[in-house]
């Protein structure tokens, strides 16, 4: 992978919009604003909309870059650089909900300044310092009186449909966003909606009726003609907001959602483990940490407390939701909870497989935490220890990892109904497998349990 400081050239995912594109120069992101966007961009800057959005933390700030302009460019800007990128199919329910509400708030403010969002893609929102923020400064167009909202369908597909399906059917349906990268088609969402929810006015209008109108007008060769007043548009946005706000995740029990409430750690051994993690991290002093199998982020917060930016990932949607809600309640700014299944992490997606980067590319870090994880990969998922070590070595030069022995009750549970074919799953076998990629800097026992904690450094 090219180190970011050497990255130059057009961002390969930025090719659809003739109003401009994103490019890299010496590892920094820039945005070229082309001539067709001139009027809209100047109005954004002079109308007060840009200042209002930046002040409320809803839009990335930028600086104008001085110097000779490329052909066709109106201006080149350098937006604030984002420390971590994530995608909507990696978010918890509340992250997606907050991103949806932020988008609607941005649209409301835009309308007050004579503008409108020309797209409402969930990929235009990133979590910065714990809050959703629009990253596409070219999302705004001047709105003539009477123009409907061109991005209404996109908002419903990218935000409303997945939220509704997560809230009313199953949280796992968020993964449909990996297959449908322009949002969940409304006819599909309408068919999956439980019958009782089709009586809900907001859902009936924005999902079911919307799908019906789409079907009725598909194949139409004429340009759409409709006039929608500013008041009608305000009413539409208000209805969308109330519909989104009304959606709540059911209190379902998932396999690992309340893991730390029911572990076999005593309070004392949990504290010892925390101290070991803190000591190990203090030796590395990482600026960027990826916590793999973070659950509710208890140990991610140790790294965050030491000043690192932490990507706090877990397979369980309830655990990630708890992590995010706690992050919000605490006002934490250097934690990014994400939903990731390490046995099937988000791949590269989109046109030519280049529009959305894989999780592996984006999770590169100075250190990784892999606590209470190895038995899930090696035993539950049957991944050979050496391949686990190889993957971890591809992510990070420093590893804090916990070995969970077969005598542990969590491993006994995994082996309860299976033949134990894992002959190499022993501390010796574990160390031998990892020795190919890492050297062991330190090893400590977790007092009060049989688990072992390791600090490892990747071999050159």
């Amino acid at each position: 992978m090219i180190p970011s400081k050497l990255k130059n050239g057009r961002e390969q995912s930025s090719f659809r919009d003739d109003w401009g594109f994103v490019f890299w120069r010496d590892g920094l992101i820039y945005r070229q604003v082309n001539a067709p966007a001139k009027d809209a961009f100047e109005h954004l800057m002079s109308s007060g909309l840009y200042d209002t959005l930046v002040k409320q933390g809803l839009l990335v700030r930028h600086e104008t870059v001085a110097g000779e302009l490329p052909e066709g460019a109106h201006v080149v800007i350098r937006p604030e650089q984002l420390p971590a990128i994530s995608y909507p199919y990696e978010w918890s329910f509340s992250q997606l909900k907050d991103a949806a509400l932020a988008t609607l708030k941005i649209q409301t403010l835009a309308l007050r300044h004579g503008m409108s969002l020309r797209d409402a893609s969930a990929y235009n929102i990133q979590f910065v310092a714990g809050k959703p923020r629009l990253i596409d400064t070219l999302s705004f167009e001047l709105r003539p009186e009477g123009q409907p909202w061109v991005a209404y369908q996109q908002f419903c597909q990218h935000f409303l449909a997945p939220l509704v399906l997560m809230a009313r059917v199953d949280a796992d349906l968020l993964q449909l966003m990996r297959v449908h990268i322009d949002g969940i088609p409304l006819p599909l969402a309408a068919r999956l909606l439980p019958i009782k929810d089709r009586l809900n006015f907001g859902l009936a209008t924005h999902i079911s009726l919307h799908a019906k109108f789409q079907r009725q007008h598909e194949g139409t060769a004429e340009k759409p003609q409709a006039a929608v007043s500013a008041t009608s548009l305000a009413g539409l946005i208000d209805s969308l907001e109330r519909t989104v706000r009304s959606l709540k995740l059911p209190k379902n029990k998932t396999q690992w959602g309340d893991y730390y409430d029911h572990t076999n750690y005593s309070d004392a051994s949990f504290e010892v483990k925390g101290k070991i993690v803190a000591d190990f991290l203090d030796q590395i002093k990482p600026r960027r940490v990826v916590d793999l199998g973070a659950n509710d982020g208890s140990f991610s917060r140790i790294a965050a407390g030491q000043g690192a930016l932490v990507i706090s990932s877990d397979i369980d949607p309830v655990a990630v939701e708890r992590n995010y809600l706690q992050m919000k309640a605490n006002g934490e700014t250097n934690l990014l909870p994400l939903l990731v299944d390490l046995t099937n992490p988000s791949p590269a997606l989109g046109w030519a497989g280049r529009e959305r980067q894989s999780f592996t590319e984006r999770a590169q870090a100075d250190a990784a935490l892999a606590l209470a994880l190895i038995h899930h990969l090696a035993i539950a998922a049957n991944v050979p220890l050496e391949q686990v070590a190889e993957y971890f070595a591809s992510l990070t030069p420093h590893l804090v990892i916990e070995f969970v022995p077969k005598s542990d009750s969590q491993v006994k549970r995994l082996l309860a109904t299976r033949e134990d074919i894992f002959r190499d799953y022993t501390p010796t076998g574990f160390e031998s497998a990892f020795a190919r990629y890492f050297e062991i800097v330190e090893r400590r026992e977790v007092t009060g349990s049989e688990r072992l904690m390791y600090l490892m450094r990747r071999k050159k």
Partner: protein, 54 residues
């Protein structure tokens, strides 16, 4: 005249739906705002606690 924006496919059906329901939603929105303003007008203002030292 309404412009046709090419960047995102807005879908004719989506435009038609906005035209069909927009007026109802707009009127409902305005009425809710009016009611909220009226309710706020008649809400009793919070009075300051008397000074115990007086």
């Amino acid at each position: 005249m309404v412009r046709f924006i090419a960047y995102v496919d807005p879908s004719t059906g989506s435009f038609a739906l906005q035209a069909a329901v927009g007026a109802v939603m707009g009127v409902s929105f305005m009425m809710r705002n009016r009611v909220r303003i009226i309710i706020n007008k008649f809400k009793k203002p919070r009075s300051a606690k008397p000074d115990d030292t007086e």
